[in-house]
């Protein structure tokens, strides 16, 4: 598969998603980047913006398996990973695989489950395997977790621990659509052109094998040393600035490069530019840092602080 064919295929997915999720082009791009970079994504937005819809639409474009877990306070780790049970008929123990054994996993309202249950995803997300009764079992390839969470209505929720957050390649915000987009969306849905199961009826655009090939292409794309250095400098700048209490770790550098490569492929380029790195740096780094109390008191968001930090990092010197 060459870069142009890859771009076409990705554009098809993008268009399909944009048809369902009107006015969220950036979010769609970032979800595709995460998919292509073989990473996991955390989508945050207030209720009613189509977080779950986006993930279901993505699953409609994909011929692989898709499963959904609705996180609730009483969800147990074994409800996610699976467990071993005794089969009376066969007279032996049998493993009952949990919903994580899929290609696309929607972890809906992930912060509604307690930390113990959230932690069940740590091994799943990092090592892409599940250990049950001492036996590790690999997850299918490709595998991606798409988690959603709601920034308001925090009562009864359990904030994701730093270790868990760090395992998400990107954290994406879904904002309210613009007036024009909201009008278009409302018209489309009320005229019957688009319904909740539209995407489920559509033909899959990409198979698991094709997706693996796209991921391989993205990982093999050319990246100049100067660009690599620039990405690392951006991440390191978050550790060396007084407005950030805890900066991002080396995992962020790796994630940033992977995401930048994926972005380049989506843009139809076979090389990574500093623009790719800088553009994707916000969703990759924003959930891996904690800003200082002074910045919070001043009302600055993570992205605003990052913008100021990145402005102090010189672009690559070629």
């Amino acid at each position: 598969m060459d870069i142009n064919l890859a771009k076409d295929k990705l554009n098809n997915i993008k268009n399909a998603l944009n048809t369902v999720l009107i006015g969220q082009e950036n979010v769609v791009d970032q979800v595709l980047i995460a998919l292509l970079a073989n990473g996991h994504i955390l989508i945050e937005g207030v209720p009613g913006l189509g977080k779950t819809l986006l993930v279901r639409a993505l699953s409609g474009c994909f011929a692989g398996d898709f499963k959904r877990i609705q996180f609730t306070p009483d969800l147990m780790p074994s409800d996610i990973t699976g467990h071993v049970m005794y089969d009376n008929e066969a007279n032996k123990f049998r493993m009952r695989s949990g919903p994580v054994f899929t290609n696309l996993l929607l972890a809906d309202e992930i912060n509604r489950a307690p930390a113990k249950t959230q932690s069940a995803l740590l091994e799943v997300m990092q090592e892409r395997q599940v250990t049950i009764e001492g036996h590790a079992k690999d997850l299918p390839h490709p595998f991606m977790v798409l988690a959603t969470q709601n920034p308001i209505d925090q009562e009864g929720t359990y904030p994701l621990p730093e270790a868990q957050l760090d395992r998400f390649l990107m954290k994406v915000f879904i904002e309210y659509p613009s007036l024009e987009n909201e009008i278009a969306l409302s018209k489309t849905v009320t005229s019957g052109t688009l319904s909740d199961d539209t995407f489920l009826k559509s033909d899959p655009i990409v198979t698991p094998d094709e997706l693996l090939e796209l991921q391989k292409m993205a990982s093999n794309i050319v990246i100049d040393d100067q660009v690599t250095e620039y990405a690392v400098k951006l991440v390191r700048a978050t550790r060396e600035n007084s407005s950030i209490q805890h900066g991002a770790g080396p995992r962020a550098s790796i994630a940033l490069l992977r995401a930048a490569k994926a972005k380049a492929v989506i843009n139809g380029n076979d090389f990574v530019t500093p623009d790719d790195v800088k553009a994707i740096a916000y969703p990759v780094i924003r959930h891996r840092i904690s800003i200082s109390a002074e910045m919070e008191i001043n009302g600055l968001t993570h992205d605003q602080v990052l913008l100021q930090v990145f402005n102090q990092v010189e672009a690559p010197r070629v």
């Binding site: 050319v222 990246i223 100049d224 100067q226 660009v227 700048a237 060396e240 600035n241 007084s242 407005s243 380029n269 076979d270 090389f271 990574v272 530019t273 500093p274 623009d275 800088k278 553009a279 602080v305 100021q308 930090v309 990145f310 402005n311 102090q312 990092v313 010189e314 672009a315 690559p316 010197r317 070629v318």
Partner: protein, 527 residues
């Protein structure tokens, strides 16, 4: 009291150092001190609770009121232990009533609320003075260490509360979470059991802290006596005397000095309670005064001895000191101005018949207030500036390795490592680019063209770029200028540059020629 057996180094300390030594003493003999305090205190408390079982608050109040009496036994113990007489707890308990007897009424009435109780208690218990003698003694002692003893009392008072709430927190931690609410409801109720629990926790925490309080106060007292009575010097001379005895050849001048200073110390020290001098010292003193009755001769000898090796200890030290400076009168103009204004004001008031107003004094006060306000304002401004730029200052002095945020966008002469100043560029850009390209230096050629483009954008078109701008951001800035031909050229130029720089894709000669031609067209002043 044998000074030679004192368990701490008898030297002059600051009051807080003395408090520290006191705490150390408390830990040294904590078990005995705790038993001496807690045992009678608990027994007495249980008795009171039995008598006033329905009135725990009253019982608690009585116990608290009588608390100073229980401090005496531990003080008695530590006052002996400090001088090497560690008495068994039982022995101290045998003397318990005797210890309590002196001045118990005053301790419970007019001295009950004294904040310097631990500091003053040794005077009551050990010196056993009262009335004017006590007041005189207190005046001497309280010239130093009073504020520290007050703070010590307050600290221990607060520590009781901290420990008490820690005990409550401990109780809460030990209770299963399902019953947590029940326990707190119980604790906040008016139940008599809650009152008993609270009082019991206070009794326990008081018993834990009191040995430290007593020892710290006692050490403050000892420290003051070391200073007033020169115990350290006395012990030094005693050691010297012992040394002389050991050598067997007593030197008269040394003994003279010892005698003179000892007599001096005794004359100026105000206390009736001193370390006992032994017979040998008395004998030496008498002999010395018999032999040396000429005052001048004695003084001369003393001076000679002071010049000797034993009393000469020269050290060279270096340290930072504040330079002494005098007020140079820079603010005199303000004073003159206000005085002039005052004279005018006085004259004006005199003319209007308000002569009863002390205008001059009033204006002096106003001047003083203005002066104070100006100095305060200056200090505030300096403080605000330091606070505002604290991160920068910390970074500059190397205290912090973290960079401060910088919101300003600065104009730069260097972008992506390329010098984009006009002076750094050759006269004829397209010609130079093509020459470089033909010579096989493709990267240099495209680099030069891109550099020249940015330079022209800044110098001719007035665009501003920051060092952190990537190629795409520079293009975005140009796009905002609504010049389509310029935007188109910059877009193509950027693409070629990025392909070469990051994708390692060489442009064709045709592409380069096209770019050079368009470059000449876009920038009017180009050669």
């Amino acid at each position: 009291m044998d000074l030679n057996k004192i368990q701490v180094s008898p030297k002059k300390r600051t009051p807080w150092q003395a408090v520290d030594v006191g705490f150390k003493m408390a830990t040294q003999w904590y078990r005995s001190l705790f038993i001496l305090y807690a045992l009678p205190f608990f027994l007495f408390s249980i008795g009171i609770f039995l008598v006033l079982s329905d009135h725990p608050i009253w019982a608690g109040l009585i116990i608290w009121w009588l608390k100073p009496l229980f401090e005496r036994a531990p003080l008695f113990f530590v006052s002996r232990a400090l001088f090497g007489e560690v008495q068994p707890v039982k022995t101290v308990f045998n003397q318990w009533l005797k210890i309590l007897k002196f001045d118990w009424l005053g301790s419970l009435l007019w001295r009950r609320f004294s904040f310097t109780r631990s500091y003053d208690l040794p005077i009551t218990l050990l010196e056993q003075v009262s009335g004017k003698t006590r007041a005189k003694r207190l005046r001497v002692l309280h010239q130093q260490g009073t504020s520290e003893s007050i703070l010590l009392t307050m600290m221990c008072f607060l520590s009781v509360f901290v420990f008490q709430y820690a005990l409550i927190a401990l109780l809460a931690l030990l209770v299963p979470i399902d019953y947590f609410g029940d326990v707190f409801n119980w604790y906040s109720s008016n139940s008599i059991h809650v009152s008993y629990y609270q009082i019991a926790s206070v009794l326990l925490t008081v018993s834990i802290i009191e040995p430290f309080y007593i020892c710290a106060g006692f050490m403050l007292y000892i420290n003051r006596r070391i200073e007033l009575e020169a115990w350290d010097i006395e012990i030094s001379f005693r050691n010297m005397l012992e040394k002389e005895k050991y050598i067997g050849a007593g030197k008269l001048p040394t003994i003279l000095v010892f005698g003179a200073l000892l007599v001096g110390g005794l004359t100026f020290s105000p206390t009736p309670v001193y370390a006992q001098s032994n017979d040998l010292e008395h004998q030496v003193l008498h002999n010395d005064f018999d032999q040396v009755n000429n005052k001048d001769e004695a003084k001369s000898r003393i001076n000679d001895i002071f010049k000797g090796e034993d009393f000469t200890n020269e050290e060279t030290i270096s340290a930072w000191r504040l330079k002494s400076f005098e007020y140079d009168g820079d603010l005199n103009w303000l004073e003159k101005l206000i005085n002039a204004f005052g004279r005018w004001f006085e004259k004006h008031f005199a003319n209007s018949g308000s002569g009863d107003i002390e205008v001059s004094g009033y204006l002096n006060n106003v001047a003083f207030i203005i002066k104070a306000l100006l100095i305060s304002a200056l200090l505030i401004v300096i403080s605000i500036l330091i606070y505002r730029y604290r991160t920068n200052i910390a970074y500059l002095i190397g205290y912090s390795k973290k960079l401060p945020l910088n919101n300003s966008t600065k104009e730069t002469n260097t972008l992506f490592g390329l010098d984009v100043t006009q002076e750094s560029l050759p006269e004829n850009i397209p010609e130079e680019v093509i020459t470089l390209f033909k010579a096989g230096n493709t990267r240099q050629a495209i680099g030069l063209l891109y550099r020249a483009t940015l330079s022209k954008l800044m110098t001719e078109k007035g665009f501003r770029f920051d060092e952190s701008y990537t190629e795409g951001e520079c293009l975005a800035v140009v796009t905002q200028g609504d010049d389509n031909s310029l935007t188109g050229f910059i877009s193509d130029m950027t693409t070629v540059w990025q392909q070469l720089a990051y994708g390692h894709v060489q442009p064709t000669e045709e592409t380069l020629n096209t770019l050079c031609n368009r470059w000449s067209g876009v920038f009017s002043n180009a050669e």
